[in-house]
Each structure stands twice: as C-alpha cells, then as structure tokens.
Amino acid sequence: MVLALDVMNEIWADMRVTQLPSWVSPAPPNWGTKERGKLSADNWRVICTIHLPITLIRLWREETGRKQALLENFMDLVSAVRIANMRVSSPNQIDAYNKLMLRYLTGVKTLFPNHPLRPVHHAALHLGDFMQLFGPNHPRTSMYYERYINFLHRLNTNQKIGL
C-alpha cells in the first residue's frame, strides 16, 4: 500500500501545522478514514495540490525505484491540474499542460498496467484544446456558475417573475 497508516499519519501531522489562506476550504483533518467517508471534489483538489506534495516530497525525497517513479508521476498530475486551474492561459502553458498530462497518463499505464485508462483520462487530454479555443478554464467550471447562482440568490426580488 502506498498511502499506508504511517504515511497518512505524517500527512495529517503536516496538515495540522499548514497555514492556508482564508479562501482555501481546509480538507477534513481525518480524510482517508472510514469515519470521514467520501470527500468533495474541492477537498480532493486541496489535498492533491497542497497537502500531498508537501508531505510526499519530504518523505520520499531520497527514495529510488517505484516510490520515486510514483512521486514523479503524481507531481506531473499536480502540475497539470494547477496549470489547468490558472486564471490566465498562454500558448506556453497549454503546451506545458499537454506535455504533463500526456506524460502522466503514459506513466499511469506503465506504473499500473492492470488498471485501464478511464474516459475522464481521455477528457483530460482535450482540456488543452479547450484552453486553446476558449481561454482559461475557470470561467467554464461549475464553480463559476455556482457563484452566479449565489449572486442571484442575494438579489432582492418581489417574488413576481418578469416584474
């Protein structure tokens, strides 16, 4: 097991001392346990792009072999996700995203030969095209529309449609 209890204990310990800006929703302190159960997409994003890099690089910095390969593969994914989430995009960033995502998926096929790629992996390879055609991803994510819904909820209305 890669994220065994000893690794999880280290991750939870680092999470407790990490100071995050107020706009980052902290991940549950006991994520990964049966008691906590499922996590939201935002929880997973915070865990994968913030907490796991901090602890895994610290723990596996001198590892060689499979753990090193797993870490490098995972960091390719983290870098690609962070580029895809940026508020600006440029041809260089799109090239970097495509290169990282392709390298990550090639790595997945090598590291986990018994696990077939999923449709979501295929979709991830098209994200570069979308950035090329329509610009940064953030205005098309569900968060954008949810924010508009929140904005509309806060408008005063007379409860009469069209008036």
């Binding site: 990490t18 800006p21 960091m75 989430n85």
Partner: protein, 227 residues
Amino acid sequence: MRTSARAANLRGILADDEDIRQTVVEMVDTMKCIEQEDIRGFRRAALLDPSTPEYLTTSKARPFTLENDHHQLLRIQIERTDPGARIPTDAHAVEEISSHGVSYATCFSPASRNSAIVFGSPNPDGVETHRAGKVTKIFQHTHRTSGGKNVSCCYLIVQEYVPMVPNRGRADPYKKFGFAGGFLCQKEATCVHLIALSQVVCHFALTPLSLEGYEDVIHVLPIDRVS
C-alpha cells in the same frame, strides 16, 4: 392597502421599541457591507465600471506617522517613477485589504492567515524576482507628484522569508518539481520590503517543517485562487 398598512405597522414597531430599532440599524449596516463586498468573478463587469475601486479596505483606517526606514523605502519606491514627488510621512494603516476578491491582511490581525504572500520585487541587478514574505503593515498613502497632482496608493510592508541556501551538498528537494512543489525558506522572516499592492502575486501555504539536514525551515507553496 396591505402594503401601506404593513409599512405603518413597521413604523410603529420601530418607533416604540428601542431594542428592535437598534437591531434593525445593525442589520441595515450589515446588509450595506454585504452589498459593497468585493465579489470575485465579475472581472469583466469591473473593467467596464469606471467607479470600481482598485482595492477595498475591510477594516477601519487609522492615521499614523511612517517610521524613518519605512519612509525611506517609500521614497525609493515612488522616486523610481517620479523623482520630484513630495512624499509626506502621514499615512493611514489598515489591517486588511481586498483586491479583486482576494483579501490580504497583516500578520498581527485576526485574519493573519492572509498575510503570507508571494510578491515580485527587483533584485540589485534590476531583474524582477518572486519572493515569499509575511505582511506586517498595510497602509494607504497620498503623495504629490512633481506635476502637482495628489496620488493615493496602497502599500504593504513585507518581511521576506529568505530561500534556503544549499549546504553540505543538500539541495532543496522541492525545487525539482517546479511551482507545484514549492520551495524551502529560512524560518525567520528578516529582510524588509515595501511594495505596492500591484506587486503582490498570490498567497502561499506555509508549513513549518523539520527535515533531517535542514534546520529551522518552512515550506512555501504558492497558491493562486481558483474559485
């Protein structure tokens, strides 16, 4: 009829009951604050609205006099673009400021989590470098340009976390992974910088680390707001 009757009832309740009147006043103040919030996600609308301020202060401004060394830093900053500017020592300190929906605060304020920032600052060769630091002071300052015009800006005093220098063959293991991995810095913030709000790049996640071979270090992971 019903509307006017309700309005009359409400006026009566407000006139009679001091407690309710106080509650309503507080509620109206809070609603006004919410209405003026710097909502993120309306960049295009903000661009088209000439009345949109560059930043909003979310705490009360307190007048104070700049210390000599901070005034000297401010003078260097302003005289880069306008050598003949008149730069008074009076300024207004605030604890928290919001720009395009992102809040920055001093490390002494209740919102100290928003004090860890990555900022751009030129090195001695004039090349812009990204540095990590904690905000110790935020202030609004007005100076008179050589053309006689008053210009108001917001400035931040930042103590820099100096990046860890590789020693005894030990390099920073995080740098290998670029921006997604972050980097290590010395735990104590030392070097003082004065920067304009526009020089702030993003926040960072700060983690004190104890690593074998690396003493008194923190990990800096720059993070840009995504939602």
